[in-house]
Symmetry: C2
Subunit: 296 residues, 2 copies
């Protein structure tokens, strides 16, 4: 037994210190480090907010429901992390890059792994729905030198705002997904459709939270990319369509200034024919700038 004078029992004043002191002999030092920060800030929140018992119960109910909502098809906790900006912050912290390099943004839940590679210039629109868009650009190193053989993994939502794996009975498998490879000059080119904004799921606790905060659930129009090349850090990012009305309201905070690109409208039957698209059509040209891999 300790002398009573040396025991610090829990008080409103010392609360976080008492809880943290209990981890002094943690088996997992990193877990203790994370929990030290978490407990410090969690107690600060309670002291700032001074919740009533009823509010505490509401919080317990919300947190419980968020876990219950998770299944094979939806991950409500990731959605909560997304709408609170936590996913983007973790992404930002893990992908600090020098100025001029392509910035990262969130992967999102809709990437799939087993997508076939397609020929330069091919279309990824297997259902043919939407306004034609030709995407082209280069993959470069930070000094502006082309990277040949870089792999571009792209995916996007349909004209109606759904990914193929959200609508397995409606869209062909791998619709609006494709893997491309850069040529000797670092160039890539493919055909697709102009992306549209869409809403993230709002049928669970996160939807109710957004409703209470009068926040929308819309993501502005974007194309997803993972760009890989041996010896370079992999970039996971989007490009966003300049002028989209939801750019400043992205429900998951994925927009970065450097990722907003011009998407140009064309009415030019000859050029359309040359590119293999119907007229009128859209084009976007974007470069990806990679930094050396950290292990390199």
């Amino acid at each position: 037994m300790h002398d009573d004078d040396t025991i610090a029992y829990f008080t409103e004043r010392n609360s976080a210190d008492v809880v943290i002191a209990r981890m002094a002999n943690a088996k997992n030092p990193r877990l203790a480090e994370v929990m030290r920060s978490m407990i410090t800030h969690l107690h600060a929140v309670v002291k700032e907010v001074e919740p009533t018992y009823e509010e505490w119960e509401q919080a317990i109910t919300f947190l419980t429901a968020t876990g219950k909502m998770c299944d094979d098809k939806s991950q409500e906790w990731i959605l909560l992390s997304d709408v609170l900006g936590v996913s983007m912050l973790v992404d930002a912290i893990n992908t600090r890059r020098p100025s001029g390099a392509t910035e990262n943004t969130v992967l999102g839940p809709f990437h799939v792994d087993d997508v076939p590679e397609r020929e330069t210039g091919a279309t990824i629109s297997d259902d043919g729905k939407g306004e034609p868009l030709v995407v082209s650009g280069r993959v470069l190193d930070i000094d502006g030198k082309p990277i040949a053989g870089a792999v571009i993994d792209t995916w996007q939502a349909s004209h109606d705002g759904f990914y193929d794996n959200q609508q397995p009975d409606v869209q062909p498998e791998h619709n609006l997904r494709g893997i491309f490879r850069t040529d000797a000059e670092g160039r890539f080119r493919y055909r697709t459709i102009k992306p549209c904004h869409y809403g993230i799921p709002d049928d669970g606790p996160v939807g109710k939270l957004l409703e209470g905060l009068n926040r929308g659930n819309v993501r502005p129009a974007h194309l997803h990319y993972i760009v890989r090349a041996p010896g370079y850090e992999t970039v996971t990012t989007h490009i966003f369509v300049k002028g989209d009305p939801y750019l400043d309201q992205d429900a998951v905070f994925g927009v970065k200034e450097s990722l907003i690109v011009d998407v140009d409208h064309h009415d030019d039957p000859a050029k359309a024919a040359a590119l293999g698209v119907a007229d009128p059509f859209w084009t976007v040209e974007t470069d990806f700038v990679l930094t050396p891999a950290k292990s390199a």
Copy 2:
């Protein structure tokens, strides 16, 4: 559309501000106030801890499993709130009382409502297992005047460390539970057994967390009380047994200095017979001091 210059897109630096700005038009201002504090501190945690993607995934997995663990019989989120000291902090904030008044502590998950009232001096040990204990005391106002007709609602774990509702097939219903009423001099008295320390559930994610932190799951021996009287603030509290080896290790931080009481051992057959208990036996004497109800 806003002018691009006025749009603050998410960056590592401004992350919390951007998320908070999105709640400017919240329908529920209290929710926005709570979320403002929560988002500020949550982003501070992420910036302090700099989690890897893998650690973020571990957090998502833990939070999801904590919700999945909840059912009719167990509430893992309340357990997590308890072991992080949040339940005690919410309790402390909602029950600030003047010096001399009985302090609150956590209700815990084992209280039941429909317990019968028993006569002064009656036993609440319906299975007769454990070392006899006689509990007596008074209910007083803050000036030391007795409160007649105050209601004492008490419950405790068995000699084996389980509440009756954790062992419906082993213990009689309402074993070690009772409602008593103070006499004209504010006195109450009943018989029970000396409480033992016991472990909180450790079969879920919270148990794994405690394991990783090398923290025990034990609660020191205690008796639960809710004390009510018309015109006074209801007190929800425990008394703890002085000398219990787990007083400074309570898994839920419920111990307060003022709630630790002497439990005295007696070997006195005549006194035992007078009190209606087997010899040897234990006694504890404790007063509850109530403050005026806030609406009074």
